[in-house]
């Protein structure tokens, strides 16, 4: 998966303004932001469209022993 975390850095970091309580930080960023966040939602849709989380806490039944580079 491509690491796009740099794109959302401003959404992840919390401003140090002491008068804003912690739980309001995220709201104030999204309200004040002049950036177009719609790209973020396109990214999420793309992720859901192209793949799914191919992981589960256990296997179903192991009948083949295929290694990564076979």
């Amino acid at each position: 998966m491509i690491d796009d975390s740099e794109k959302y850095k401003d959404l992840i970091s919390i401003p140090e303004h002491p008068s804003i309580s912690y739980d309001l930080h995220k709201i104030s960023i999204s309200h004040q932001s002049k950036k177009n966040n719609s790209k973020r939602f396109i990214y999420m849709k793309k992720y859901r469209g192209e793949g799914s989380i191919l992981d589960f806490y256990k296997p179903n039944s192991n009948i083949l022993s295929i290694k990564e580079n076979d």
Binding site: M1, I2, G49, E50, G51, S52, I53, L54, D55, F56, Y57, K58, P59, N60, S61, N62, I63, L64, S65, I66, K67, D70
Partner: protein, 329 residues
């Protein structure tokens, strides 16, 4: 040292074996081999006894070893020291799953005539999470493509499809299936050549061609590289048979079983709904026979990470697996 306690992290679980024990790290999905004696030490109620008291319990025979081992475990993030063990409670030893069926295996050959799309719909209604479809003989890929349509929007997270190689099989058709159904993983068995086709670089998804054969008598593979360590796997295997718990299988004739290789049949998919079969107490019996109750498995240090779907027989009041691993632990 006199009033210092050593505790394992709650996600680090010691498990004893016949020759050697381990500590499973459920967070990291790893394990560490340790001597059985250290397992005995770690099995003491560590929250009740200080390190000094533990050393006293062993008549101070192993003081140096205990000190070094505890430090080793701390250095490798399996445990920690504390002067107050009370706040550190052990997690509850429970397993909960909302799914009526967790996993299913279906088998298909040239004589199979049950309605595959209908079976997929029934499994979806039971919130089945994992599906494996074993196609033993050459099969029309267009038919497969259409039959898998109930997978779209279904509960099934992962669907492994084992397809039999034949000369007319088209890579394009296989790629189309994988792109149309993102939760499908295709393995082509009985292939003349071993290769892998990349579907998506982004998600590391491949179609694998293997020379190994998949047929009605294919046995399960037991290998440490296939063991699974996770919180859910550990707690499930403490209370249930991790392979057979909430699993339903349908063989090539439509017979409904706990697993394909079992002989006991509970119904037929052409006449019965899966939902009516899985609620029968007899069907659910094997759900509750854990590795802790089965001979050989109960003294294996890997019993909480090994998924086995073997049938279980009872002899002289003891449980045995019909097919066991040949590993000598």
């Amino acid at each position: 040292m006199t009033n210092t306690y050593f505790l394992l992290f709650p996600s680090c679980v010691p498990v004893n074996g016949t020759k050697v024990s381990i500590i499973m790290d459920l967070d990291k999905g790893t394990y560490l081999e340790i001597p059985n004696l250290l397992h005995d030490i770690l099995s003491i109620d560590l929250q009740r006894f200080t390190i000094h008291e533990i050393m006293k319990k062993f008549d101070h025979q192993y003081d140096q070893g205990i000190k070094e081992y505890f430090q080793f475990l701390v250095d490798n993030q399996y445990g920690f020291y504390t002067k107050d063990p009370k706040p550190f409670r052990k997690p509850e030893d429970i397993f909960y799953s909302p799914y009526k069926i967790i996993s299913s295996v279906l088998a298909i050959n040239t004589t199979t005539n049950y309605d595959l799309p209908e079976v997929l719909k029934q499994l979806d209604r039971l919130s089945c999470q994992l599906l494996q479809i074993r196609i033993y003989d050459p099969y029309d890929m267009d038919k497969l493509f259409n039959s898998l349509s109930p997978l779209k929007g279904s509960s099934i997270k992962i669907c492994e499809v084992y397809v039999c190689y034949y000369s007319l099989i088209s890579e394009e058709q296989l790629i189309t299936i994988c792109k149309e159904y993102p939760n499908v993983i295709i393995v082509v068995h009985t292939s003349k050549e071993k290769k892998q086709i990349n579907i998506s670089d982004e998600f590391n998804k491949k179609i694998v061609f293997t020379g190994e054969q998949v047929h009605a008598n294919t046995k399960e593979v037991y290998d440490p590289s296939l063991f699974t360590i996770s919180h859910s796997m550990y707690y499930e295997s403490r209370h249930f048979n991790s392979g057979l718990h909430r699993k339903v299988c349908i063989d090539t004739d439509g017979s409904i079983k706990n697993y394909l290789s079992h002989t006991k049949v509970y119904g037929n998919i052409k006449e019965n709904k899966i939902s009516e079969i899985i609620t029968k107490p007899k069907f659910q019996e094997r759900y509750f026979i854990t590795n802790d109750q089965i001979e050989k498995c109960k003294s294996c240090q890997f019993r909480y990470m090994c998924v086995s779907n073997s049938d279980i027989i009872k002899k002289n009041g003891k449980y045995f697996k019909k097919h066991t691993c040949n590993m000598d632990f």
